[in-house]
């Protein structure tokens, strides 16, 4: 199973490496969103108040763009249909798609974070590892729901319009937890001080990876 997952993820990432279609749009979009936020919140003297929220809103919006793109390309090229003919379990396909999405979103977020630090004049003292941990945990949950909902959305009549409507309400608790943890880390506090939020983040990830894993075959039925 893991070998198959590795091959599938490699296929996705190689395709992305040659075209750079998703990353170029998500990164550019992130810069645009951060710029708009910068104008909108110019009056806020303490950037740390709005900072974590702005960061995660940008992650979410750019993420939605990337999720749609990843699944639309599959749909347009008939990639998924091709894969369905191969002897691959559809639950395996879920894990592979989730991992591909996780990598693509993480790369987008690294670029976003760099721009964010410059634009918002953030001092990343010490807590970089904690920050990375929070971002990975948050992104894992977003990608778990994103894989499920984007696979659905591209098959609906409204296509990519459907994804934000499904994803945003469901991920409200994830965003709250991620913003709280990020605020703590950027404010110089330890992750232990937001332990309950961290637990919530992990619970969210576990629950929705499990549900996504179990329901993915249902979504792919034709």
């Amino acid at each position: 199973m893991w070998r198959k997952i590795f091959v599938l993820v490699k296929k996705d990432l190689l395709a992305e490496w040659t075209s750079k279609e998703i990353l170029s749009s998500t990164v550019f979009f992130s810069v645009l969103v951060l710029m708009v936020f910068n104008f909108s919140f110019e009056m806020v003297t303490d950037r740390m108040v709005a900072g974590p929220g702005i960061l995660w809103t940008t992650f979410l919006f750019a993420g939605i763009l990337g999720m749609n793109r990843l699944f639309l390309t599959e749909r347009e090229d008939g990639g998924i249909e091709g894969l369905m003919l191969c002897p691959i379990d559809r639950t395996t396909l879920y894990i592979a798609k989730w991992l591909s999405l996780l990598v693509i979103l993480s790369l987008t977020e690294i670029a976003t974070l760099a721009v964010f630090v410059v634009f918002f004049n953030i001092a990343l003292q010490g807590g970089l590892i904690a920050l990375v941990a929070v971002i990975v945990l948050g992104t894992a949950g977003l990608a778990a729901l994103g894989t499920t909902f984007a696979a659905m959305a591209v098959r609906t009549r409204t296509r990519e319009m459907m994804l934000p409507m499904l994803l945003i309400p469901i991920s409200v608790p994830l965003l709250m937890a991620a913003v709280k943890c990020t605020a703590a880390v950027l404010g110089g506090a330890t992750l232990a001080s937001v332990g309950s939020w961290l637990q919530l983040l992990i619970a969210f990830d576990v629950i929705f990876i499990a549900v996504g894993y179990m329901t993915f075959p249902t979504i792919l039925e034709e």
């Binding site: 499920t148 659905m152 459907m162 608790p173 629950i207 929705f208 979504i219």
Partner: protein
């Protein structure tokens, strides 16, 4: 859905009759149920406006409570119903469970709308603001948004069979999200206390018996109303699916379906 044979012409002369015999839930509310629901609603309105004592602090506006809280609880009943119908649909692939989900979602969203209308109109005179991101308000609002998303997916999801599968998945995810939303909004609040007085907090504990009875009556009335609307909506769903099936069999060339 795909394997449904063309409807038997003999059964079609009674458009609804044929399909209701084997339904897991009764459709079309009976006149008796409608009468009981109407009586309960009138009694509940009477109790809320005239029987329950006027709240000494909030005044008459507190009487919104007797509509607002039962409507919110009914919304949670609806989402639970959708959850079980979704699981049963995915297990059994019986179209009728999808119909239950469709009906419960629309009527549940209606109750959610009532909650969203009555909430701000109560908050404004009591808390001095139309809206506050208080824990229960926030979680109810997010649930209402999930209902709307579910209805959007139903409306634009594609083929009926695909809509059934996708909505079942969303029904399960939405329900599992509720406890997480609940905890997150409570913690969010406790770390950012609002400067408004949460008078609603004190209502549960020291509620006088007459107020408690009025709430209970309101809940019974809301659940009865839900049942009536739900069955009515279920019947509309059956009719629309029957029409779809008939149109499909009409489109087949004459030689093939006979």
């Amino acid at each position: 859905m795909a394997s449904t044979s063309p409807p038997d012409p003999n059964l079609e002369t009674h458009p609804s009759g044929a399909m209701e015999v084997d339904s897991p839930v009764r459709t079309s509310p009976s006149p008796g149920l409608i009468a009981v629901a109407a009586a309960a609603m009138i009694a509940s309105l009477y109790a809320a406006l005239l029987y329950a004592p006027t709240d000494s602090f909030q005044g008459n506006v507190q009487r919104i409570f007797y509509t607002h809280v039962p409507a919110a609880l009914t919304m949670y009943v609806a989402v639970t119903l959708i959850f079980f119908a979704s699981i049963l649909y995915l297990q059994k692939r019986d179209e009728r469970w999808d119909e239950v989900g469709a009906a419960a979602a629309e009527v549940g969203a209606l109750f959610g709308t009532v909650v969203m209308i009555t909430g701000p109109l109560w908050a404004r005179p009591v808390w001095g603001t139309w809206w506050t991101w208080e824990a229960r308000l926030t979680s109810t609002f997010v649930l209402w948004l999930i209902f709307i998303a579910y209805l959007m997916l139903r409306a634009y999801g594609g083929s009926p069979e695909q809509v059934a599968r996708f909505c079942a998945v969303l029904g399960i995810i939405g329900f599992l999200d509720l406890p997480i939303i609940h905890f997150s909004v409570i913690w969010w609040r406790t770390m950012h206390p609002q400067p408004v007085i949460m008078t609603e907090e004190g209502l549960g504990a020291g509620l006088p018996g007459s107020m408690l009875a009025t709430v209970a009556l309101g809940l019974v009335a809301a659940l009865l109303l839900f049942t009536v609307l739900f069955r009515h909506r279920l019947r509309v769903e059956r009719l629309s699916r029957q029409l779809l099936a008939m149109r499909r069999s009409l489109d087949l060339s004459p030689g093939e379906d006979l």
